[in-house]
């Protein structure tokens, strides 16, 4: 049997797993990230809700975890705007406003502002984004909050034929690949600007685009441009995933995607390897430390797990760690979806990785 050995193996490429892998990689560890599919966060806007922060603010490790993640996201070219005091009221596809604490910069650009005139711009042929309906709804939702915000609608032609049906994915791919497309899109938006101080688009500004590239685009348009996340595939969530993955790859993290961990091997109180259900014989990876950040309940992989200790090590029924070098983002019996949004997962992944790193240092010190 072939075993590939790493310093740290992280299971799960959701936001918890990516955070854990980033922390380990930053400390010079050789990291493998094993996953089945992207995390659920790719379906969303890639932001943190106000209620998540309220619920978690007092949790130990929350502030450093968020600080770590914000630095990471900025370095990866997908910075989050906002801070932990002020709330952003972000427009949704259903015409309401959602209180968010943090959101990707171009998504945060769409936040409700008193006294601002905003033009909602639809793309001709793109279904599921009705600029007229949204303008009407935002106008009345703002008025209900006692704010004077003016919303009006416009529709532009997509500047190059992208095939049918038009999807946000196709527009975003063209945005990434073709500088000419970006220039033409900026020109079309400029022409549709009218008297508005700000324009709001369906989120299409690239799956891989950096903050810098999007800022240049907005400069070309000549007014603030905000993105409104649409139905899946949600471009801002995917962008966050893509850029974090690329950032990790550049730091030597390797990815094994597509096959689940089917067995965790233990010997003498240590996790000695993970058996992965690849075709044929399967594949085995081993890490000196292992962080489980998977949406599969922990008990499916560790039937005897009962709780986590303060270091996030799974404990058996007697309260003994199942393995000294095994750490988990979720508690046994808890599903990752029960963690509070993006912030809860960042905290869980970060805490597990902090413990794993402490254990690595203690081990190295003998």
């Amino acid at each position: 049997m072939r075993t590939e050995r790493f310093d740290v193996v992280v299971v799960g490429s959701g936001i918890a797993g990516l955070t854990a892998a980033a922390l380990a990689a930053e400390q010079g560890e050789r990291v493998e990230l094993v996953s089945v599919g992207a995390g659920a966060f790719v379906l969303g806007a890639g932001g943190v809700e106000e209620r998540e922060v309220k619920a978690l603010a007092q949790e130990p490790g929350f502030a450093p975890a968020m600080e770590f993640f914000l630095t990471l996201a900025e370095a990866a070219g997908v910075a989050l705007a906002g801070d932990t005091r002020d709330t952003l009221l972000l427009p949704t596809l259903l015409g309401s406003f959602q209180p968010m604490q943090l959101a990707p910069r171009t998504v945060a650009n769409a936040a409700l502002e008193d006294g601002t005139a905003t033009r909602i711009v639809g793309l001709h042929g793109l279904s599921g984004f009705d600029a007229g309906f949204l303008a009407e709804r935002f106008q009345s939702a703002a008025a209900a909050r006692g704010l004077h915000a003016k919303y009006e609608a416009a529709t532009i032609e997509i500047p190059s034929p992208l095939g049918m049906p038009v999807t946000t994915l196709r527009v975003a791919q063209a945005f990434d690949r073709d500088a000419g497309f970006r220039t033409r899109l900026a020109a079309a938006l400029r022409a549709a600007k009218g008297a508005a101080a700000r324009m709001l688009l369906p989120a299409v500004l690239g799956l891989d685009s950096s903050d810098e590239l999007r800022a240049e685009f907005i400069e070309q348009v000549g007014c603030i441009v905000g993105e409104l996340p649409t139905l899946p595939p949600s471009i801002p969530g995917l962008r966050l995933a893509h850029r974090l993955q690329a950032h990790l790859r550049a730091r030597g993290v390797t990815f094994l995607e597509g096959y689940p961990v089917e067995r965790i091997e233990m010997a003498n109180g240590m996790c000695t390897g993970l058996q992965i259900a690849a075709p044929g014989r399967g594949f085995r990876v081993a890490g000196q430390s292992v962080v489980l950040a998977t949406s599969t309940g922990l008990r499916a992989l560790l039937p005897g797990a009962d709780a986590l200790d303060a270091q996030r090590r799974p404990l058996d029924a007697n309260g003994t760690p199942i393995a000294e070098n095994l750490f988990a983002a979720c508690r046994p019996g808890e599903h990752i979806s029960e963690l509070r949004g993006l912030a809860g997962r960042i905290l869980a992944g970060h805490s597990a990785a902090v413990s794993a790193m402490a254990e690595r240092r203690a081990y190295a010190a003998g």
């Binding site: 049997m1 072939r2 994915l169 690949r177 390797t254 995607e257 597509g258 096959y259 690849a278 075709p279």
Partner: protein, 401 residues
């Protein structure tokens, strides 16, 4: 992935498959794996003929399967639909040949010099484009006298080597190199004489031929597999086929399926096999110091095996060799796909990202274990593309390739 009735219900329409599909990104009219797979599958289950020529555009790269958060076997659904979809006569005839690289190889290598001479004449190629819809823009691999096993006494541990069509008909010299490489590691390789693995047949929608190839392969290796002899393949697609139980062709067929599962459990990618021996201290590491700056391209069918990047790990053990993992997605060639006139442009569009990345890296060599990836990289860039076997063998015998 095995077909079961829950597979379809696991699709939540999240569209993550579309975001990783190389064809979706390069072909504006392609509906994408979500539509061609799970969405149309519901209609197919009702016996409705919902398929169009769009299914023919699926590469069979398995990236959708790997990206799916719920492990839906998307590409398998599309592969089956390819099998039932009716093509116009010209494309059907061309694809009949493309489904049979073994038969083509046998015929074209009878007089290889004549074959090669004609296949590079532009009037011949233009005629082929007109009559057979085979693009005149992509050069063909040269044919040569095919590999014929010589009666040779080999010493060492027994392994079966599954060579695939390309090594047999186009690069018997490389086939000999693999045998030599294994010999350097104390392994006596027996070359399997079963013919094609069946991937091209399935890719061209010829499920009948895919089944025939599968049965031939199983029969050719049965005795050795029963005896527990490991089977090694150097071609990523052949290896994926052996490991995946022949891509579900035999999914529900009792004895055959059992046999295919046994073979799958004993099949190895060549570099994976050598690394496994390294784990047991059995890899020959008497390497010469070389001077190579290599960019490595992982073929899709290596990614789909879920074994990481064994060649990267192996080549990095050779002193003086630096390896950069290009990691820029699919090359777009997908076996016979890039030779098809109507698909040539899509194929090159898919490869554009990889070509650009290689252009930036300016490596001395591009290494990839897939023959058609090599062809496409040489077609789309200025780089020289080689099989990593050549580099490893040079490290053993010191002879430049």
């Amino acid at each position: 992935m095995p077909q079961d009735s829950f597979d379809l219900d696991n699709c939540l329409k999240c569209s993550v498959c579309n975001t990783v599909c190389p064809v979706y990104a390069a072909h504006p009219e392609y509906p994408g794996p979500k539509h061609l797979g799970p969405e149309l599958e519901r209609l197919r289950m009702e016996g409705l003929d919902a398929d169009t020529g769009a299914v023919e555009y699926c590469l069979g790269c398995h990236r959708c399967d790997l990206a799916c958060p719920h492990q839906v076997g998307v590409s398998e659904m599309i592969a089956r639909a390819k099998g039932t979809h009716r093509k116009p006569a010209v494309r059907a005839l061309r694809d009949w040949w493309f489904a049979r690289p073994g038969l083509l190889g046998e015929l074209l290598s009878i007089l290889p010099a004549v074959t090669n001479f004609f296949l590079q004449l532009s009037p011949v190629r233009l005629l082929m484009e007109r009559l057979m819809r085979i693009t005149a823009r992509h050069s063909f691999p040269a044919y040569t006298h095919p590999y014929r096993a010589r009666a040779q006494k080999r010493v060492g541990e027994r392994v079966l080597f599954f060579p695939g069509c390309y090594l047999t008909y186009n690069r018997p010299d490389l086939l000999e190199k693999v045998v030599a490489l294994l010999a350097c590691n104390g392994l006596a390789a027996e070359v399997v004489k079963s013919g094609c693995c069946g991937v091209p047949a399935a890719a061209n929608g010829d499920l009948h031929e895919a089944r025939r190839r599968t049965e031939k392969s199983l029969a050719a290796m049965r005795t050795a597999v029963e005896a527990g002899v490991p089977v090694v393949a150097a071609c990523a697609s052949c290896c994926h086929q052996l490991k995946s139980g022949f891509g579900g062709v035999l999914a529900e067929e009792g004895a055959h399926a059992v046999q295919a599962a046994k073979l799958a459990a004993q099949s190895w990618d060549l570099a994976e096999f050598l690394l496994a021996r390294a784990n047991d201290g059995l890899l020959n590491t008497h390497f010469h110091t070389l001077r190579h700056r290599v960019a490595y391209h992982a073929p899709c069918h290596l990614e789909s095996q879920g074994i990481g990047r064994p060649w990267v790990e192996l080549l990095r053990q050779i002193p003086g060799v630096t390896v950069e993992d290009v990691n820029a997605g699919c090359c777009g060639m997908s076996g016979t796909y890039g030779f098809k006139q109507e698909k040539y442009q899509v194929s090159m569009g898919i490869g554009a990202g990889l070509f650009a990345r290689i252009g930036e890296l300016q490596p001395e060599l591009v290494a990839t274990e897939c023959a058609t990836c090599q062809m496409q990289i040489e077609h789309g860039t200025q780089a020289r593309a080689v099989n990593p076997v050549e580099i490893l063998l040079e490290a053993y015998d010191g002879k430049a390739f």
